[in-house]
Symmetry: D2
Subunit: 141 residues, 4 copies
């Protein structure tokens, strides 16, 4: 009886000058990039990165959904931590939830992404869980 | 009896090489930029751009929420149309909904943003509708 | 007797909020994107865009050089004009020089890019002028 | 007799999915961002970052020049090293030269930036070396 089918990765990021906008705060669109940074860091640590998926299966994993709720501003030079939580689902999807914290451990934003599997060449959508992902789940969850 | 307290702006965008990712399709994060392009085009046409707001009120209008649901891939050189719909709300917020279409008029993605008003210097949140925005609404809605 | 083996394209760009940095001026790296915008606009007008080249020849045209000299700041909402000048060369290269002007026709920056031809799949460099480019030159210069 | 008025910082960067373009290689404009990453890392290590300068002097340090020569492609997931070399000059400028290497220690690109000092508010250019920078040089060179 497991209620814990999730895996969490934390990733530190230094906010760059070019991440900030005219308000001298991180431009809102860049949090979507930070989510990707967290997700790719998860991928490297748990062999579920874009390349891992592609090499094993010929599949790409485009997003079908992203959302982000902003709680606090983050400025130049701050070090933020992206907490990426893999959320188990029986569907042919990869779901992550994100929390970003500043150095004071204050919650900066929350978000979520949903990815699906498509053939990297034809771009056709998979509606059943691909074998490599089934195997990955069995190994990691 | 008005059920039409919305204003719609459409904005054409040519997808650039640097907008595309390794799948040769627009990188998902760039749709957030397209939403901003649509919103700023609305702002230019209806005097509600970042600068308009700032000059009239000393306020900035950061996002507290964005979401995007992706329906179709868009590739290099395609011309897309962002349909930005201003959604009336009594709250001290600016709400937009977006639909992006490709040249075949197929729906590419939908999304939403919510902005609030903060003092551009202190970054303090306004909880009541600022006078300039009340005036803007009376004029435009 | 031609000393004019150049073609000039001008492209208008509205400076976006997300183009600006914490100084509220265009971030220097974005001028490289404006050069690409100008180059791609040239490409659309004279069938020398990335896709045109690829479809006709299976080649890609990566940069081997870029430089930019910044003369004046440009801020949010300004409308700039990129003047992209195609520079004839006998080498297997595509050379452009750029001038960017603000609305007052003041010179904002100058720059240059040099592109070469590589096989899009093997990434192997072409050292002789490919036939499609020779044909393009004869038609356009 | 000193020929060594330079300081070198090395900075590791993991190439991200969103850094790559439709050729599945790092988009050329992103090297300008990598140069900034290297420069800001230098700044953090040697108190010459954007904020350090601003807080000590009220000055900003915009670029007046950048160039980059591309030698080799870099792809998704590669780890690159930016070698940022501070170049001493008697002028009121900050000059850096960059070399980027891949994991095989192959030279990927070279580049250079020149920054000047301007008043962060008036944007007026300083033509003499500001005192804080003179002090910085005496301490670090």
């Amino acid at each position: 009886m497991s209620h814990s089918k999730s895996i969490i990765t934390t990733t530190e990021i230094i906010v760059k000058f070019s991440d900030c906008d005219a308000l001298q705060m991180v431009w809102h669109g860049n949090y979507i990039k930070y989510f990707e940074d967290g997700r790719e860091d998860f991928g490297r640590k748990h062999t579920l990165g874009y390349w891992d998926v592609y090499k094993q299966s010929g599949l790409a994993v485009p997003l079908i959904h992203v959302d982000c709720d902003y709680k606090k501003f983050v400025g130049l030079g701050e070090i933020i931590t992206v907490e990426s939580t893999y959320i188990e689902t029986p569907a042919a999807k990869i779901i992550f939830e994100y929390k970003i914290f500043n150095e004071k451990k204050e919650l900066v934003c929350t978000g979520k992404t949903i990815q699906v599997f498509v053939d990297a060449v034809t771009k056709e959508l998979l509606i059943t869980v691909p074998p490599f992902y089934q195997a990955w789940k069995q190994k990691h969850l």
